[in-house]
């Protein structure tokens, strides 16, 4: 019998989407093929401390307080993987005889973090630096798609339709948004000020901080909200009769990008904000952490493969999503979101999530060729190994003939 690969799934994190990430991470562990992999839950708390322990798989553990931390083992990532025969964590536990140190070897990290400090290329960069194999998008793709403005620029460069926009930087400390220069900027960007507008943070996912502004006062207020979360704000025209479509993309066995089923999230409010997205069916105040896999993005009401989409609309969604996946060299299971005016049928690419909630597995299970989450986790993991091996190769100085110091 071959030994199982240890897959460290990292979730939680220093992000406003911390709680959603916990669900995504646990769901991934529960969908690992038991004949090939062993899951190692690694929880990053809001202070950036890393923990492991069997107790992590129970949803009732969250939120983790100082009492519950006693059930866990704190660990750090050892960055000297090449010196230690492979990647490992160092653990320490306080005992009667002082601190007890240990090590946990693993084979690959699956980042299951949403939003800043995890989905944005930062963790990926750290792992590349340390030579640790990991799954999903590489640094470049993760960083490029996290920034909504940058992602739209790339899309425009390849003639993928996106909304016009105006980007504003956070005013200096102590200063407010100046309404007059704001109006001038609006006229510059959109011709004439034409309310309502949608205001979003540049770098956050999950629709956090997104709001609609019907006039100048509301716009200033919306900008202030965004600047508490992000240093840059994105203003876009409001799409009338708005409906949204999401699709997931991954690299298929043939080497080409393939796309999943399309979903239309169902909701009553104007915007799919964080509450509707993740607290659907539950009380506002905290995500439901009690039940099974029907949670997070999964418990949102949705229409899968909606009948109202025409062939040409579906083609646009599929081809633009796959095109952007290639343009930004993405990997893993990513979700691309589109905006649509349901009266005119006009569509715009909205944003890309390089680590979508629940890895968008429900879109793959509903695809024309259904792919179970169980199979999806294996594909994501094996792709991660392949990508990391391809990059790592030989990187020591001697192999490039760049040694300056004479070897004795």
């Amino acid at each position: 019998m071959t030994t199982k690969k240890v897959i460290a799934v990292v979730f939680g994190g220093r992000s406003v989407e911390h709680d959603v990430s916990v669900l995504t991470g646990l769901q991934f562990i529960e969908a690992l093929d038991p004949s090939r992999y062993e899951g190692l839950p690694v929880y990053v708390d809001p202070l950036g401390q890393w923990w492991t322990g069997e107790a992590l798989v129970k949803r009732s553990l969250y939120p983790v307080d100082s009492v519950k931390q006693k059930k866990l083992t704190q660990l750090t990532l050892d960055l000297a993987a090449p010196a230690n025969n492979g990647p490992r964590f160092l653990t320490f536990q306080k005992g009667l005889m002082g601190e007890k140190r240990g090590e946990i070897y693993f084979d690959l990290i699956v980042p299951a973090l949403h939003g800043s400090n995890g989905e944005d290329g930062t963790l990926q960069g750290l792992l590349e630096f340390a030579g640790i194999p990991y799954a999903g998008c590489r640094t470049l793709g993760a960083a490029a798609t996290m920034n909504k403005v940058f992602a739209k620029k790339i899309a425009r460069s390849d003639d993928i339709k996106v909304l016009p926009d105006l980007v504003l930087k956070r005013p200096e400390t102590g200063k407010f948004v100046d309404p007059e220069s704001l109006e001038a900027a609006l006229t510059d960007a959109f011709g004439a000020a034409n309310y309502p507008y949608i205001v979003k943070p540049c770098n956050l996912g999950s629709s956090i901080g997104v709001s609609k502004a019907v006039d100048l006062d509301a716009l200033v207020a919306a900008l202030m909200t965004v600047f508490r979360l992000d240093s840059e704000a994105l203003i876009e025209p409001f799409v009338a009769n708005l409906c949204e479509y999401n699709i997931a993309v991954r690299r298929g066995e043939s080497g080409r990008a393939v796309s999943s089923a399309i979903e239309r999230p169902l909701r009553d409010t104007d915007l799919l904000d964080f509450k509707t997205k993740y607290l659907a069916g539950g009380k506002a105040g905290g995500p439901k952490l009690k039940s099974g896999p029907s949670e997070g993005m999964v418990s949102l009401n949705r229409s899968l493969n909606p009948a109202e989409l025409s062939d040409s609309q579906e083609r646009f969604i599929r081809s633009s999503a796959e095109q952007l996946f290639e343009l930004t060299s993405l990997a893993g299971s990513v979700r691309v979101d589109f905006l649509c005016d349901s009266k005119t049928g006009e569509l715009w690419l909205n944003e890309v999530n390089s680590i979508p909630g629940s890895f968008a597995y429900f879109l793959w299970e509903a695809a024309a060729t259904p792919l179970s989450f169980l199979a999806l986790t294996s594909l994501i993991i094996e792709e991660g190994f392949a990508l990391s091996t391809a990059r790592l190769g030989a990187t020591d100085t001697a192999s490039g003939g760049a040694n300056l110091f004479a070897q004795a």
Binding site: E30, P34, S35, K58, G292, E365, P370
Partner: protein, 255 residues
Amino acid sequence: MIQPSHQRWHSQDTGAGSPSMLWLHGWGHDLQAFKRIADLFNGIGRHRVFDLPGFGKTPMLFEGASSMDYAEALAKQLDSDGEPHIIVGHSYGSRVAIQFAARYPEMVKAIILISGAGLPRRRSIFFKARAFALKMMGRAARLLDRLFKTQFRQAYITRFGSADYKAAGPLRATLVSAVTENLSSQAKQVKCPVLLIYGSADMETPIEVGLRYEQLIPIARFVELKGYDHHDILARGAYQCEAQIKSFLRDIENG
């Protein structure tokens, strides 16, 4: 009038061809219990997810029907000369599956028990003594009620009855027969391969039950899923069950 045992069971039927898989849910559930797992087998053969009699939309059999009667009624739902079936049972559904496989070996290709019930659990002396005392108390309450028209029995049930017992309604006699039955001899007669899946955190049908089934059933594979309990094994445990069932089915196909 249709005989209750000939009544068609309500079911959700999907797919076509081979293999034919039958899904039997547990006590207090209906076919929705298998929604997640059964969906993961879309595209693989034909599936019938049943509402067992007395649950969901299938009317009950008769008062006091045992798991054997359920198995007999299941046989009437099926084509006797058709392809043998793969039966997946959760909890009470597992009792029906064992009874059916023991009685109709030619109609069963394999059975899969998830948190399967049917063997008495090992109990401590303290537990047994307490159970005996409670049983006597219940009988005394019933006797007093009959003699003096008191309401002790109802008070006894409210105080000591299990949630299932209280909710059982007309199925109460069936539940009582299930709780006290022992399927050891039926398990020994099962000829087909059996997959036993148990959650390590299951308090209702602990892994001990599965390990004893493994010893009794001639061709059995036991799998323990770490951290899952009697119910969430069907929800968040769906993929682990899927993986185990699929590899079991592959192994059967390859002999």
